[in-house]
């Protein structure tokens, strides 16, 4: 539908051009926004980049008092908590997706209700997750999981250190809950897209329902599921409030689940308004830049993976 077909009189042509121009300007604004964003992030972190260079990314010390800044504790914390989030969240998300796609095939209402409830999980704001996590989840985790693990297996570095609850573990659990809606929704779509002929072929060999899922459905869907996982990872990496309320906010690099830690997003949230001198602020903005690139890379990768699998079968991810 080209513009040349769209008018006969000059008056109408103006209307069309006006519309296209206006909405085009809106589209342009979005591009301009991203460009400005990238630019300002770069400009703001220039001082820190100039001062610390590449070693910033592997610097283990974050000491504002002595003007030494290194991003490694935050990169470590972000990666550690995100991996935990996937570890705890993926099996549950997969279970939900299998339930909604492979079991309960005829129970439409139940699927609808459960699907809605899982979606509602995403409607709860991050700060509420953090609040609830701090007051309710943390004591439970400490009493029933962390302390017993430490008491019995404390010689393993993973469980070393007396658990107080404000640690990587709790942050990982909360993050897992928060990525479940995304990962399970996308996984469900992926599973639904597996052709029925695959299931029937497996059934015809004399397979139980689970064997059909394990042998025919999941293998077929595995790259899509992987894409859903990466999407969840992208969410986890950017989460700020819930994490900062339960992670302890200590720039520490430790192998222990029960050690306090810090993430890229959390340190920005906590220290940004306290940054008392330009280099401090610049270092924090550079942390923002690192976070930006990390989230960008993960999300582009995830989109590419899911697109490759579900080309045309669904609207959007």
């Amino acid at each position: 539908m080209s513009d040349s077909q769209s008018s006969r009189a000059g008056f109408k042509l103006k209307g069309d051009t006006l519309l296209k121009g206006t909405v085009g300007a809106a589209a342009l604004a979005i591009v301009a926004l991203i460009v400005a964003l990238a630019y300002e992030l770069y400009r703001g972190s220039a001082q820190s980049i100039f001062q610390f260079g590449l070693p910033f990314l592997v610097g283990r010390v974050w000491d504002p008092v002595h003007q030494i800044f290194g991003a490694l504790p935050f990169i470590y914390g972000t990666v550690f908590t995100s991996v935990l989030a996937l570890l705890f969240g993926l099996p549950i998300s997969l279970g939900i997706a299998i339930f909604l796609s492979e079991k309960a095939k005829s129970r439409r209402t139940m699927k609808y209700v459960i699907g809605t409830l899982v979606e509602l999980l995403a409607a709860v704001p991050s700060v509420i997750y953090g609040f609830w996590g701090l007051f309710f989840l943390k004591p439970l985790l400490v009493t029933y999981i962390e302390t017993p693990l430490h008491a019995n297996l404390g010689f393993i570095p993973l469980f070393a250190g007396t658990p107080f609850g404000l640690d990587f573990f709790t942050a990982g659990v909360i993050l897992a809950t928060m990525i479940i809606p995304t990962v399970s929704a996308v996984s469900r779509d992926i599973l639904n897209a597996v052709p029925n002929s695959q299931r029937e072929a497996m059934y015809s060999l004399g397979a139980t329902n689970w064997e059909v899922i394990r042998g025919a459905v999941l293998p077929y869907a595995r790259s899509g599921i992987f894409g859903a996982t990466i999407l969840g990872l992208g969410r986890a990496v950017g989460e700020t409030m819930a994490v900062t309320m339960v992670i302890g906010n200590a720039p520490r690099i430790s192998a222990s689940l029960f050690s306090g830690g810090y993430t890229l997003a959390a340190v920005i949230a906590n220290e940004f308004t306290e940054a008392s001198y330009p280099l401090y602020l610049s270092a924090l903005i550079e942390i923002g830049l690192v976070l930006f690139f990390l989230a960008l890379a993960i999300n582009i990768f995830a989109r590419f993976l899911v697109w490759r699998i579900t080309r045309g079968t669904r609207t959007r991810v």
Binding site: K105, S106, P195, S197, Q198, E200, A201, M202, Y203, S204, L205, G206, A207, T208, E211, G215, A216, P219, Y220, R222
Partner: protein, 281 residues
């Protein structure tokens, strides 16, 4: 055990026609493998099969024919209890396999499907598995771990499907890397590997070219020595070529059943004759 295809054909083609024409005059004398009694099948409020009584002869090829919508695919999907897997689907009646009703509550459907295998219209090999793993899939399900047994069964099944020579050096290739005709023969081998007693085939060659179709029909001719085969087909020439018996379905009911030659040359029902002469469907 290499045999030339030419020799094979000569030996086998001679015998079946002798056998069937002998049996044809005494239809009830052929052993019945599957006895279908008052089979009704529905999908939601749609009644698809309205009460079918049919005896499928043992170790013969029976063709199920009829115009679109006559229920022939639903019929065979009731024979391996696949129909009931669709939400909203219902089955009534009995299907007796060697005397036991496969729909009896004491019978495990999973076990039935091992005894009554199926090959589908569009080849559906498992794309994430190799040729070898595709064929071995059913065995591994049953818990077979012995490498030797697996190797032997895979080879035997691929030979029965007339595919061994073409893939014997490429067993590690992905199942979906084969041509359409090869994929279908792979699916046949896969179904055979679990040693079913009955093989159901839903228009197995309709998506294939004539050469591939010929290979499959060749395989079927050899298979019927040991397996009962039920094939849905809309191709009358194919039925005439391969089937010993043919059943004609119309609008969910069995109209006529008998030896293929009789059905085509001297149909007893007018409906059958109209279908055969191409007056509809």
């Amino acid at each position: 055990m290499e045999m030339e295809i030419g020799t094979h054909k000569e030996v086998d083609v001679a015998q079946p026609s002798v056998e069937t024409s002998e049996q044809a005059d005494a239809v009830p004398a052929t052993q019945t493998k599957l006895e279908v009694r008052k089979l009704k099948a529905s999908f939601g409020s749609n009644m698809i099969l309205k009460g079918v009584d049919l005896n499928i002869p043992d170790r013969r090829i029976t063709a199920i024919m009829g115009p679109s919508g006559c229920g022939k695919t639903t019929f065979i999907r009731c024979l391996n209890r696949l129909h009931e897997l669709t939400p909203g689907a219902k089955v009534e009646g009995e299907v007796m396999l060697d005397g036991t009703d496969i729909y009896s509550p004491r019978v495990d459907p999973v076990a039935i499907r091992r005894k009554i295998g199926m090959v589908f219209q569009k080849p559906n090999p498992f794309p994430t598995m190799t040729v070898y793993d595709n064929v071995a899939a059913g065995l591994k399900l049953a818990g077979e771990r012995n490498r030797k047994v697996l190797d032997e069964t895979v080879e035997r099944s691929l030979r029965l499907a007339f595919l061994w020579d073409e893939v014997k050096n490429e067993l590690k290739k992905s199942g979906s890397a084969l041509s359409g005709g090869q994929q279908q023969r792979l699916c046949i081998a896969r179904a055979l590997a679990v040693s079913p007693e009955v093989l159901l085939m839903d228009e197995p060659a309709s998506a294939l070219d004539p050469t591939a179709t010929a290979k499959i029909e060749e395989a079927m001719a050899r298979l019927k020595k040991d397996y009962t085969i039920v094939i849905v087909t809309h191709n009358m020439q194919q039925a005439a070529r391969v089937a010993d018996y043919t059943a004609f379905f119309y609008l969910g009911e069995l109209v006529e059943f008998g030896p293929t030659a009789d059905l085509f040359e001297k149909p007893k029902k007018e409906l059958t004759e109209r279908y055969i002469t191409g007056k509809f469907g």
